[in-house]
Symmetry: C2
Subunit: 164 residues, 2 copies
């Protein structure tokens, strides 16, 4: 642990650490009724598809489903928990997500990130990494897929950080 | 209010109600420190950019910023609160978001949706609506932009719902 005076702790991967086709697989997480209710409260999205069990019984799925935006949140959290972004990510610049299948309460999901592009731009301090993203459930079905564009710090030549 | 036996309440807009270039402007919402902490807890994304004030002081913005995924969540909540999706949306099929500027604690944001496409497919029961999305802060700056593809129920010819 570093004291505040010693500066930020960079535990994540630097731009130069990301190689094309490298795959990162997250831990898994079970989507619960409580999570979805909490997400409704925080987002303000109380659409009955997500919060009204009686309404949902009359829909094709016959049950409530998780918000797509909640699946995005879970994907970002599972990715963050891998530690690869800690202290080295500068910005989440852009994302695309396609929701292929619904996630139900009790489903257990994980995410796979694949590096599909690396770009030294926009500056000498930062580089862009383009990830293909996939969220899978316990049956191995893809429930969401897309891509994320993120900016990472580059190693400073000659710094200690360059030698890790 | 309808009892469960009378079926779902459809208060939102049907597919046929969405017209090209129609704009929907949401209420505004202030992004707070508490919101961002709660989003970290729910998503599991505790990246120091969002939750570590000491770390954030050493970044270019010199303060914590809201998660991009939280801005997506807020956008979906503000949109939901307009009521236009209530009971008529079938699925949030796809989204794209580009984060243009950061959102800081205390910023007040709202969203603008513009109908940029309507497609009667994929079925006689449903149609696709394509929205261009923009999130603006209190200074009128665009902080995020993108697009959403959503599926809506179509009116059933001859039903009461057809006459509203």
């Amino acid at each position: 642990m570093s004291s505040p005076k010693s500066g930020p702790v960079h535990r994540g991967l630097w731009f130069e650490d990301y190689a094309l086709d490298q795959v990162y697989v997250s831990a898994a997480r079970t989507i619960t009724e409580g999570d979805v209710a909490a997400f409704a409260a925080i987002s303000g999205d109380f659409n009955p598809l997500h919060v009204d069990a009686v309404f949902a019984r009359r829909t094709p799925y016959r049950q409530r489903i998780a918000h797509g935006m909640y699946l995005n949140a879970v994907a970002s959290g599972l990715a963050a928990q891998m530690g690869i972004f800690d202290g080295t990510i500068v910005a989440f610049a852009e994302l695309h997500a396609r929701f292929v299948k619904p996630a139900f309460f009790g489903d257990t999901v994980h995410v796979r990130l694949r590096v599909i592009g690396v770009d030294e731009n926009p500056s000498r301090r930062r580089g862009k990494v383009h990830f293909g993203t996939e969220m899978l459930n316990q049956d191995g079905d893809t429930i969401a897929e897309g891509d994320w564009m993120m900016l990472f710090l580059r190693r400073r030549p000659g710094s200690q950080e360059d030698e890790s």
